[in-house]
């Protein structure tokens, strides 16, 4: 990595939404006008003190920011290497980082005068956050969710319905996250005049990767401040799981121009890097254009999108956010993957050592830390972005552990 040659992070994306060769805006013509309108509204809102004050207030009073930076002493001592800190996004209202973005975008939708909100969801965390915030602001809410994901995250489906959202099961394609995105886009193509689509990750067409990233930058900004207070310096390494990449880019952005901080994104290795059995785009993917942007995509010999698999619905997606592809090329962010069983190990470890139930998505970052921390010195600091809590996953984990004959007695 040569920081001299990496463009100023503030200059990205460019006016067309590009991060170097990645990103952009690849959507049907019907959506171009409302994406431009959204970009304009966002550019204005960003500079408006009133918008920022309202967002800060909601993040604090409704969502519960700032979240703690917790020293995981038992886990650190057991692993015998770096001091491990957990950024507790799991303690936010609704149980994951997703609400940072939802609050921001709902305030934007209000400025745009849109009364109806749609969203896709994989693990259900983004859907729950959206349904919740819509209930609070009195907006109509429709959530698209793959039928397979509705099954494995049924608790979250119920939570969304309790908040008054309509949850529409998607029966086409692979019936997971990407199909839910397709369906939400189809809705938006016909409804954009009165509807705002809250995309749930740093993905899709411009301006979404930029807006979603900006809404989560608070995570890294807090880590920096908290670490300064705790240790008087930046951490040595930060690790986050990467589905579309929102919690990761949110945690990393603050540190992109601090080369002493190593940044690592962890993708879902599923059952191993075989076509169709994983969701590690940087392991088996190629550059392509999918669901609005140019990025790394899992695809077959003919450009058709490959099926994906991960034990965690939130990482089970064929494309990665374009900004990640860019910083990987630059050598600024490193990427690794954790398999389903690695993630389960991480899940169990954090439950036992710290009494914290992580989301299966976040468990991928923990799995990485299990291997990484022992390689680091005792005076080094490793931060894990704990993107969500695992309540939603308890039944799924129980099913898997039962199958493996590992149910705790």
């Amino acid at each position: 990595m040569n920081l001299e040659t990496i463009p100023d992070k503030h200059s990205l994306p460019d006016a067309g939404g590009h991060f170097g060769p990645y990103g952009g805006c690849y959507v049907p013509e019907t959506l171009m006008t409302c994406l431009k309108e959204l970009e304009e509204a966002y550019t204005k809102a960003k500079k408006d003190p009133e918008f920022n004050q309202e967002l800060q207030r909601e993040l604090k009073e409704y969502a519960g920011r700032p979240t703690g930076l917790y020293y995981a002493r038992n886990m650190s001592e057991q692993l015998g290497g770096a001091r491990i800190y957990l950024k507790r996004e799991d303690l936010l209202h609704t149980g994951a980082h997703k609400i940072n973005n939802v609050l921001g975008q709902v305030l934007l939708a209000k400025r745009l005068g849109k009364q109806r909100i749609i969203a896709e969801t994989g693990a259900g965390q983004h859907g729950v956050a959206t349904a919740t915030v819509c209930a609070k602001f009195g907006l109509d809410c429709v959530i698209y969710m793959g039928a397979v994901d509705m099954e494995r995250q049924s608790l979250n489906v119920f939570r969304m319905r309790l908040c008054g959202a309509e949850v529409i099961g998607v029966e086409t394609g692979q019936k997971t996250l990407k199909d839910a995105v397709n369906e939400a886009m189809r809705d938006w193509v016909s409804s954009s005049r009165n509807t705002h689509y809250i995309l749930g990750s740093a993905l899709g067409a411009h301006p979404f990767p930029m807006i979603v990233r900006d809404m989560h930058r608070v995570i890294g900004a807090e880590i920096r401040e908290q670490m300064q207070a705790l240790a008087g310096r930046n951490p040595d390494e930060i690790v986050a799981c990467v589905g579309g990449g929102s919690n990761a880019i949110g945690a990393f952005w603050e540190f992109l121009d601090h080369p002493e901080v190593r940044l690592v994104g962890v993708e879902a290795g599923g059952e191993g890097i075989e076509p169709g059995r994983h969701a590690a785009r940087f392991e088996g993917g190629k550059m392509g254009v999918f669901q609005g942007c140019r990025t790394y995509i899992l695809q077959n010999f003919d450009g058709q999108i490959d099926p994906t698999h991960s034990v965690s619905a939130g990482l089970d997606y064929a494309a990665i956010g374009p900004e990640h592809a860019f910083y990987r090329d630059q050598g600024r962010i490193d990427y690794a993957y954790a398999t389903d069983s690695d993630a389960l190990e991480g899940f169990k470890m954090l439950c036992r050592t710290e009494g914290i139930l992580p989301a299966l998505e976040s468990s991928h970052a923990i799995a990485y830390a299990l291997k990484r921390a022992p390689q680091m010195r005792k005076d080094q600091i490793l931060v894990i972005n704990l993107s969500g809590r695992g309540d939603k996953d308890v039944q799924q984990v129980q099913r898997v552990l039962d199958k493996m004959g590992e149910t705790p007695a």
Partner: protein, 268 residues
């Protein structure tokens, strides 16, 4: 003059819109799809829009999604779509336009793809998720290999954008008469006449209109204002309805074509 230009010149000379039929290449399988194309052309299709099946057709409604699924399940590949064009070219000279998604083009290398399409006998390329802002590579390749471009105009497209889109369109413009995805609909958008007048005020590029056209009255209405009328889902549904009795597919398509084309003789 190219096949596309000749076809729309004739439309204007005769004062009648051309019939543009959409089907998904390889639906429900290669052989049937070739026969479907033959039947459509024999019964009045004047421009063929060939959908290249994609796993994630986000601008398409359920009818076309399922058609793409059937084609992919039957083993359709990009090379077979090119072959289908070559086979159609053995019996027809009507303009053939690909209706596709950008990843399928990008994956094969934009220039290579355009060259192969042209060599196979394709006349134009409509890439649904590629706005002019991102189309530089494709436009260059199309210029170089003499493949025409087709772009979409939506009800939400403002006037200055219509000019921009028309400026990069070398084949024809496709006005999607409704916000939404493809699919049959009971009636056309109420503001059609006004919208088309708005587009005509900005550009003289040939203009076809579609999305939801499924009845002779729709054909009649569009015939009054446009250079072409596009019918997709209504034809694809003739295939879908007869998957268990495939002998019925062609007769039903011919009957549907006859019914739709009768719209050209209806007064608006």
């Amino acid at each position: 003059m190219s096949r596309i230009q000749k076809t729309f010149q004739k439309a204007r000379d005769e004062g009648r819109a051309r019939f543009v039929a959409y089907i998904c290449a390889g639906d429900p399988d290669y052989e049937t799809s070739l026969e479907v194309a033959r039947a459509l052309i024999e019964s009045g299709t004047e421009v063929l829009e060939l959908g290249v099946p994609f796993s994630d057709p986000l601008a398409d409604g359920l009818t076309n999604q399922l058609a793409a699924d059937r084609a992919l399940k039957a083993g359709m590949t990009q090379e077979m779509v090119f072959q289908l064009v070559r086979d159609i070219r053995k019996f027809s000279e009507i303009p053939i336009v690909f209706y596709t998604y950008y990843n399928l083009v990008y994956f094969h290398g934009v220039e290579n793809y355009v060259k192969r399409a042209k060599e196979a006998g394709v006349d134009g390329l409509l890439t649904l998720d590629l706005p002019p802002e991102e189309a530089d590579d494709l436009l260059q390749a199309c210029t170089k290999h003499d493949l025409e471009t087709v772009f979409i105009i939506a009800p939400t497209t403002p006037a200055e954008r219509i000019r921009r889109i028309a400026g990069v369109t070398t084949g024809f413009l496709y006005y999607v008469s409704r916000e939404g995805v493809t699919g049959e609909r009971a009636d056309l958008a109420a503001d059609l006449e006004e919208r088309i007048a708005g587009i005509r005020a900005e550009t003289d590029v040939p203009l076809v209109v579609g999305f939801g056209v499924s009845r002779p009255e729709h054909v009649a209405a569009i015939n009054a204002y446009a250079d072409g009328v596009v019918v997709g889902s209504a034809l694809v549904n003739c295939i879908k309805r007869n998957l268990d009795q495939r002998d019925e597919i062609l007769p039903e398509l011919r009957a549907k074509m006859k019914d739709l084309c009768s719209g050209f003789d209806l007064k608006k």
